[in-house]
């Protein structure tokens, strides 16, 4: 009965929301802010990828907040799971192909990850996407050899310093008399790898942080799987 009510209510709500959303002018958004940003972003941030200039420039503090959320989730997960480390050594190791494949893929994925991070201001992608690939690179060997342990110490070091450097870059701008997180070192060669001032640095920080965060989260989950 409750289930049926729930279903009906959810359906009703969906219908209502739809009827509201259908009042929107799809495909022709007002783009008040959007088009302004499109017009100014190249000059103000030097990034060709306008999404990047939004993520790291115009809405950089959102990104900082989001990094913090990821960090908070990782710390919380550590708090929840970290009390009793169950050794995962009892689990069977992956097969030969999986292990070899994992080891083989590791450098490749690292490369791709960093590539995506460094080209974040030029092409689709960036710190988040690259960071996820980095995390996957670390995670893959873990899947292949469940007994292997990630080095949590260094992961948390990367976590901490990458996050801190994001903020420190922002504070550096303040020291120079600019606003917090204001992009610096604006140059004029749009579209080059070395361009867009501090944005690639920020993206590097983001990428490292996301990678470390996800890797540590995943490894925690895998390591505590065995029930006592």
């Amino acid at each position: 009965m409750a289930n049926l009510t729930g279903l009906l209510f959810a359906g009703g709500l969906g219908f209502m929301l739809l009827s509201i959303a259908s009042g929107l002018d799809f495909g022709a958004p007002p783009m008040l802010v959007g088009s302004e940003i499109q017009a100014q972003a190249p000059q103000q941030t030097g990034a060709v990828n306008i999404v990047t200039s939004v993520v790291l420039g115009y809405r950089a503090i959102d990104t900082l907040g989001e990094l913090s959320i990821l960090f908070a989730a990782a710390v919380s997960a550590g708090l929840v799971l970290g009390r009793r480390h169950t050794t995962a050594g009892t689990q069977s190791r992956g097969g030969f192909i999986l292990q070899c494949g994992g080891s083989l893929l590791f450098p490749l994925m690292m490369t791709i990850g960093f590539y995506i991070i460094f080209h974040g201001h030029l092409t689709p992608g960036g710190g988040f996407q690259g960071g996820v690939i980095l995390a996957a690179a670390f995670f893959l060997p873990l899947l292949a050899r469940p007994g292997a342990k990630l080095h949590h110490q260094s992961l948390s070091l990367i976590e901490g310093f990458a996050g801190a450097s994001f903020i420190l870059i922002g504070l550096l701008a303040m020291l120079e008399g600019k606003a917090f997180l204001q992009p610096m070192l604006i140059q004029d060669t749009l579209g080059q790898l070395i361009s867009a001032g501090t944005l690639p640095l920020l993206y590097l920080a983001v990428g490292l942080k996301v990678g470390a965060e996800l890797a540590s989260l995943l490894s925690r989950l895998i390591q505590t799987e065995a029930p006592q």
């Binding site: 729930g6 709500l13 739809l18 495909g27 939004v54 809405r59 990104t63 989730a73 749009l190």
Partner: protein, 159 residues
Amino acid sequence: MTSAVTPELILYITAIGLITIGLAGVVMSSHLFRMVLALVIAEAGANLMLVLAGYRWDAVAPILTSLAEPAAMVDPVPQALVLTAIVIGVGIQALAVSILIRIHQRYATLDRREAAERMDAEIAATLGVPRDISQEEPLGERPLPPLPADRANMRGDSP
């Protein structure tokens, strides 16, 4: 609603449909892990809704390809927003899963009702109060205390 189903309607139906499925899933499932999954679905719907907000017909991704004559580009802001929203969602899901693992270890069940029951019992036990809420006397004396029978006469039980 008599007009043909337009593409935008399909997109909106997808987004809102995902939200609806998620909501219904959260309400209806009796398993905590399924609730988390339903939440993930609902989040996906909301994210889709967000990204739809910036869509333009006949426009390209917001990346400058040639400086000379910028083509019409879709709104970059929702894309940035959705990037943020997705990562937020991932964080929350990861945390949810780690808590789920713990609950499963402690209670050996992920049934929503059972877990709630046991939580209730545990809270009551920790706080040292009786648990049942229906048959107990209220806490302490009532603000308007009933008169004990032996003293009723003395303290005046009429008007």
